[in-house]
């Protein structure tokens, strides 16, 4: 029962209605100049990119096992049961590990603020909680951005590819990336050609650090016994030597 977004690059006409709707929903300014910026930033949480005659849309992937949430030392980022990965600016201390850890380079930071926050798409968490579509999906005139149940969207993406195999590059971006995401991409060309990162590992990224972190109790318990034991032996040896009046 988790939500997702399907973005079909072949249907996108680059009208940027999603950008405007997103800015409005976040209360961010939106004008000609900002529309021209083709990168996501703290004042533009989704962006349409032009790649020749193709378009691509950048937004948070809402990973099933998000690296950003796993690395946050204060748990300010959470994966919700509904699907969206949400952020609590009141907890955030600004270490920016989430920016570093995200394989898709999604989180952005309010660099010029004195009290900065991390910013990223939250897949319209409160709208989706009420059963409404995301602002971007509601604004999209061509159906290039569609929101709905994650499983249903995956099934639909497969159908679209099967229905028009010539129009599509035969894969869904987001299915395997980082162990699976909640945002899926369809394209007529290989994904690298529309600017998507294709070197993202297919395993959940949090596993990479957890593998080491889970050893912490072992290190602490074994280490204290070992060090305590060595101390006891060396100390005891010295005491014995002293008691027997021997020189070492």
């Amino acid at each position: 029962m988790s939500k997702g977004i399907l973005y079909d690059s072949t249907l996108c006409v680059g009208c940027r209605a999603c950008e405007g709707a997103c800015a409005e929903r976040w209360g961010l300014p939106y004008n000609e100049k900002i529309a021209g910026e083709e990168t996501i930033s703290a004042h533009k949480l989704t962006a349409i990119e032009t790649h020749g005659d193709k378009y691509n849309r950048r937004l948070c992937m809402h990973c099933q096992e998000p690296a950003c949430a796993s690395v946050c030392p204060v748990g300010a980022i959470q994966k919700t049961a509904l699907g969206p990965v949400v952020y609590d600016p009141e907890k955030c201390m600004g270490c920016r590990y989430c920016l570093q850890a995200c394989a898709f380079q999604v989180p952005t930071y309010e660099w010029d603020s004195r009290l900065p926050r991390m910013r990223k798409c939250d897949q319209c968490f409160e709208r989706q909680s009420r059963g409404e579509p995301t602002a971007c999906a509601a604004a999209c005139p061509t159906g290039a951005t569609k929101c709905g149940e994650r499983d249903a969207l995956i099934a639909e993406a497969h159908e679209r590819i099967a229905g028009k195999p010539r129009d599509y590059y035969g894969a869904i971006y987001g299915l395997e990336e980082a162990g699976g995401t909640s945002v899926f991409y369809l394209s007529s060309v290989p994904f690298a050609q529309i600017g998507l990162r294709t070197n993202v590992p297919h395993e959940p990224l949090p596993d990479l650090t957890w593998r080491v972190l889970e050893l912490t109790p072992d290190v602490v318990s074994t280490g204290s016994i070992l060090l305590g034991g060595i101390w006891w032996i060396t100390n005891r040896r010295a005491e014995v030597a002293k008691a027997e009046g021997k020189r070492k």
Binding site: V74, C92, M93, C95, Y109, D112, V200, P201
Partner: protein
């Protein structure tokens, strides 16, 4: 002192210039945010404040836990004369890392958040706890120097009573912390250049930290002996140099073994900046390691000092490579620190040197503890080196 007055004035002028530039950079950081004081960006969120101030700062403090383990846990008492300077360096190092974090964190007023808002799945959470706990341990290990100075015997005894668990905790926390700074980067396999990204990062960070801890001890002893007109504990430092040579050779062997197993040795033939910076890092560790295997070099204070400095530079090169070089190409952007980032970093280093000097001058850092127990191992400092540990 009066004889060296002109020299000191030059150093004081440099010190003042660094601190003033740092002060102005601090003003920029406070009033214009990270954007107005750094060249960081969404694609390159960590710069020299993390790669140098934190990664190197913590590493350079590793002499503290290494010597505590050697002297008190393994009871190799002949290293005792250099234990206190190492503890002082570690304590100052950690305190200054906290200062650096206040610059780097977007919300330094929330530095305490990880202590109450837990996420045990985060390496940064572990780092935060290690910094907090180990700084506390180091404070308690440093405190006897202050208490002795003022002759407060009662609290001295309290600390003495908990000293063994304290030392063991310190060694464990350091082990966790030094390695976890490497673990921080395990989550970015796709962004990091393969010469540095490795599942062995935590282990490599730990081993190289012990190495640089020994090198820092040699470095400090050399400077302190000059500054305070004391004789160098040469036999001690020379045998430490031998341990360092063995350790760094082992480290480099593991490093190349790791590259071979990940099938990335071919990258060493590619003409890219990463390759050259990799060779620089390796050379700065391999050359002193080879030199230190020769007794002639070890017993010559200048050469021993030069080797220690090379190891320190090699270590710094490694941490800067991990924290900056390795992440540049994968992040699709370039990063050159802004002057204000460098100014803050230099100020923190300069402050570290100045505070160390002050404390060493007024507190019994370089003396044996007053009225302490007799040495358990009544060994004369001999010219002949004994077999190194480990």
């Amino acid at each position: 002192m009066r004889v060296r007055l002109p020299k000191i004035t030059i150093w004081r002028a440099i010190f003042a210039a660094i601190m003033l530039s740092g002060l102005y950079a601090t003003y920029l950081r406070i009033f214009y945010g990270l954007g107005g004081s750094t060249n960081l960006s969404d694609r390159f969120p960590w710069g020299v404040w993390i790669a140098f101030d934190v990664l190197c700062g913590v590493g350079l403090a590793a002499g503290g836990f290494t010597l505590v383990a050697v002297v008190h846990i393994f009871a190799i008492e002949r290293y005792k004369p250099i234990l206190r300077p190492a503890i002082l360096t570690a304590f100052l190092g950690y305190s200054l890392v906290v200062v650096a974090l206040l610059f780097d964190l977007g919300r330094p007023d929330r530095l305490w958040h990880p202590l109450v808002m837990w996420n045990p799945h985060s390496v940064m959470f572990e780092v935060a706890w290690c910094v907090t706990l180990y700084t506390t341990v180091l404070f308690l290990e440093f405190l006897p120097m202050v208490l002795e100075r003022f002759g407060w015997h009662q609290p001295l005894e309290w600390i003495h009573n908990i000293s063994v668990p304290l030392m063991i905790a310190g060694v464990l926390l350091s082990t966790l912390h030094q390695s976890s700074l490497g673990s921080l980067f395990l989550i970015v396999p796709a962004k990091m250049y393969p010469l540095w990204y490795s599942p062995t990062l935590p282990a490599m960070f730990y081993i190289s930290a012990i190495g640089v801890g020994l090198a820092m001890t040699i470095f400090e002893s050399w400077h302190s002996s000059r500054a305070f007109g004391r004789a160098l504990e040469l036999p001690l430092l020379a045998s430490m140099g031998r341990v360092l040579a063995v350790l760094m050779s082992g480290y480099l062997w593991l490093r190349f073994l790791d590259l071979a197993h990940r099938h990335v040795l071919g990258l060493l033939l590619v003409n890219r900046p990463e390759t050259w910076l990799f060779f620089l890092e390796i050379a700065l560790m391999a050359i002193p390691a080879m030199l230190l295997f020769q007794k002639r070099i070890r017993l010559q204070p200048g050469a021993l000092y030069a080797c220690a400095v090379m190891v320190i530079f090699g270590f710094v090169a490694n941490r800067l490579n991990v924290g900056v070089t390795a992440l540049e190409s994968g992040s699709g952007t370039s990063y050159v620190p802004r002057w204000s980032e460098i100014a803050v970093t230099l100020s923190i280093v300069a402050a570290g040197f100045a505070i160390f000097r002050l404390i060493a001058e007024y507190f019994p850092v370089f003396e044996a503890p007053a009225g302490g127990q007799p040495l358990l191992v009544a060994e004369k400092e001999s010219e002949e080196e004994s077999v190194p540990v480990g």
